[in-house]
Amino acid sequence: MTAIAETEPETETKTDYKRIIKDGLWDNNSVFCMILGMCPTMAMTTSATNGLGMGLATAVVMAASSLLVATFRNWITQEVRIPVYILIVAAMVTLVDLTMNAWMHELYKVLGLFIPLIVSNCLPLARLEAFAAKEPVLPSLMDGLFMGIGFTLSLTLIGAVREIIGSGTLFADASLLLGPAFKFMELRILPADTGVLMAVLPPGGFLATGLLLAGKRILDLRAGKAISMGGAHSV
């Protein structure tokens, strides 16, 4: 982190966007570093497509609520900030839910199940409190967006591992989520009926997440980085 970005966070031109992007995708990754948002992570990663869908819906809500909180950050007093943040996240979730149901119905039939679950995810709230409450609009938007993309990538990865081991497929039904053009993504890795069912059942979620988390730390150790438990508040 450059010293300039730390001492003058208000100057948008000097904000370290590279840092924000890298934090979201790897260094302070929501799932593999902050260990936040575990409820949707465990519940929705039975396939890579489900993980991707849950992640994308979360990323949209996070970007929108970070933008709003940063815009109103000087109006919101300390004492009522938490209810206001919850209100904003809940309003964004409802807004996304209604508009997708009305005008993107095919996508909604696949994703609709996940959208209300975003309210139960503490990750958006954590990023609002840790970042958007103090930073200008554009960096906050970037933080919400890239934390969301990092979350999406993590969920897709866990989903892919569980799906390959459990069902022998990869990105099954991706064309329902992304459109017929993405039919090529639907792969069969292992022959049908050879999967280890446990991988798609709840224990598989814990095992896959734990092993991938350990894997990320080994990579970080090899790269000579100090291993530290990331926290929601280390920006």
């Binding site: 919101i76 007093t77 300390q78 004492e79 209810p83 807004l95 209604l98 508009t99 798609v200």
Partner: protein, 205 residues
């Protein structure tokens, strides 16, 4: 918390801020609801029509079964909404929702029956069965569910409307008996409902 020095505002100011945000987002959501309500209703109808089309062949009717419904009381006292397909004012087929007890809660299915009581088609609407085991009832996974097309209460005989494990003639899945048992039971129940209410269901209008 974060470094901002907390100024001592009066409680009324906090209440005003929180109330203002609630009002603002309340208005935004109300407007969105008004704008999307019609489209959402329309999409819901489209979904129902799609599931009806799968259990009642299009050639059987010249009406809109979605708009031609009657409510009939089932054997458990619950009202069942029956969609009726008619051609030349004669009922050619009916469709209604049936429920079976699966491994993880109820399994809801749409059952289409022709005027003679033969199964035209069955499609799962919603279930929470185990992926890889119980979800083989879905037509996208296996064609098990199409096994029922053309069958009726006499064919096979009523005592054979069970999974093989229970002495019937329908396959269970390896590792999953409860889901197929629930579905077979639901379809048998649906056909018994048709037999019991046939006069009302197919009456000429």
């Amino acid at each position: 918390m974060s470094g901002q020095p907390s100024k001592h505002h009066s409680p009324f100011k906090h209440a005003g801020i929180l109330g203002g945000f609630c009002l603002g987002f309340g208005i935004v959501l109300a407007v969105t609801d008004i704008l999307t309500a019609d489209a959402i209703l329309q999409r819901g109808d489209d979904d129902k029509r799609t599931s009806l089309d799968q259990v009642i062949p299009a050639g059987l009717h010249d009406n809109n079964p979605l708009a031609d419904t009657i409510a009939v009381t089932g054997h458990d006292g619950k009202p069942v909404t029956v969609f009726r397909a008619t051609r030349d004012r004669k009922v050619t087929a009916v469709a209604y929702e049936i429920e079976g007890n699966g491994y993880a809660g109820e399994v809801r299915l749409m059952l289409g029956v022709d005027a003679e009581g033969r199964v035209l088609g069955v499609r799962p609407l919603a279930h929470k069965e185990t992926p890889g085991l119980g979800d083989k009832i879905e037509p996208s996974k296996t064609d098990w569910i199409s096994r029922f097309t053309g069958l009726s209460l006499g064919n096979p005989p009523v005592e054979k409307w069970k999974v093989k494990k229970d002495g019937g003639q329908f396959d269970q899945f390896s590792g999953a008996t409860i889901t197929p048992r629930g579905v077979v039971g639901a379809i048998r129940g649906g056909l018994e409902f048709f037999a019991a209410n046939k006069a009302r269901l197919v009456e000429v209008r």
